[in-house]
Subunit: 239 residues, 2 copies
């Protein structure tokens, strides 16, 4: 096996979360295969690339945006995380598109397992238009509650990514990464309710948010009905 | 490069925590090198081994115990996490001891980077006698606040492992994994104070612990002075 420019048995897959119309969505690629199979955006890690930089590169390839919240949520390394059938399908496609990139096989031409590092990214849905790469028949946003058939253990990766997002959304106050620059208190609440899949009493929730003293109040949101318009907020800058 | 039985560029390192005499300790190997350099217990991941099983195997090799709390805390993948000098030292030693295990080098005989997955384990200090493997001149317990010089980025791994332990000790109520089967409320408090590096008011802390209703009260601890002896507790079984 000749030496290649990427690490043979290690990839990185991204769960790219966006929030839109009270739905938590993520970016999926529909692979160029006869069967309808979807995959998380991912790829090999280059030999001369920090893992964190690989995550940024893959994210940029699919979203054209930089400087977004990005965090590792675990390694996926079961020996049988890729079935032989799916491995054949996927590596056949990859070989066709990227003849230089050899799939990991040993001397007996048997597949060698691939381990994947999971990252999640939080992006402003309004700012991101998902971008195709060669592997993709199409690429787009999908509601986390209505996912199509995912390849390998990507369904498991999504669930773990969601779990870690739930743990961190409150602890690390990540909500602003999923909202536009300015938002109403109701926007934050709807985001929390969507991510946690449950309702929060409005008064308590909004008081708690204001008590954190991290929000800067701006003008009222223009809704046409001026008197009842809610205030817009943005995150105080950390000067 | 001939195919080997382990994944070429991926290892796993364990931060094995124990608690003893108000100190948080971890197991380190003093490597068989002229220089005095220490390392976390670790090793390659075998081709036919789930990552979780690799962690259990490595833990068993160094502690002879099984069924302990074990959790991944992150991947360490900076391109330069191993200096050339340390890589030479370590792979020289490894080659001497394990001639079958080839260090990862490319066709030009240049070192190829290794990425490591970090796990932390929580063990009952009283039950574990650290065990040497071929690489070790000695192996033993070291106070986390007085660590010797560690190889590669192992110092960084320890700090990240500690941070994740701090986050999880309370959230996941892990204290019993670091204590003997029976313990006093003061033992728990001392463990918390050591892990978080700060004092907790005794009344509040002990009331909070009892309010969780997860502890079963046993007899008083035998101390000689019967009247003031504290009660022993153990975790209620989850039947």
């Amino acid at each position: 096996m000749k030496s290649t420019k990427h690490i043979a048995q290690l990839t990185l897959d991204c769960v790219i979360f966006g929030f839109h119309h009270k739905k938590l969505k993520l970016i999926l690629s529909k692979l160029k295969l006869a069967e309808e199979i979807y995959a998380l955006p991912g790829g090999f890690i280059l030999q001369e690339e920090d893992i964190e930089d690989a995550a940024k590169r893959i994210l940029f390839e699919r979203t054209s945006i930089q400087d977004v919240y990005l965090e590792e949520f675990g390694t996926f390394g079961r020996v049988n995380r890729m079935s032989d059938e799916e491995f054949q399908l996927f590596s056949g496609l990859a070989k066709e598109l990227y003849p230089d990139v050899e799939p990991p096989v040993n001397e007996e031409n048997k597949k060698m397992r691939i381990i994947s590092i999971g990252y999640y990214a939080l992006v402003d849905f309004e700012k991101v238009i998902p971008k195709k790469i060669d592997l993709d028949e199409s690429v787009g946003w999908y509601d986390i509650n209505e996912l199509p058939k995912l390849i390998f253990d990507h369904q498991e990766m999504v669930q773990k990514g969601l779990k870690v997002l739930q743990e961190n959304l409150d602890k690390k106050l990540l909500f602003n990464n999923l909202l536009p620059e300015t938002f109403t208190l109701k926007d934050i609440q709807e985001l929390y309710e969507t991510v946690y899949g449950k309702a929060f009493p409005a008064n308590n929730f909004q008081k708690k948010m204001l008590d954190l003293q991290i929000l800067e109040r701006l003008d009222k949101k223009f809704t046409g009905a001026k008197s009842k318009a809610p205030y817009l907020y943005r995150l105080k800058s950390n000067k």
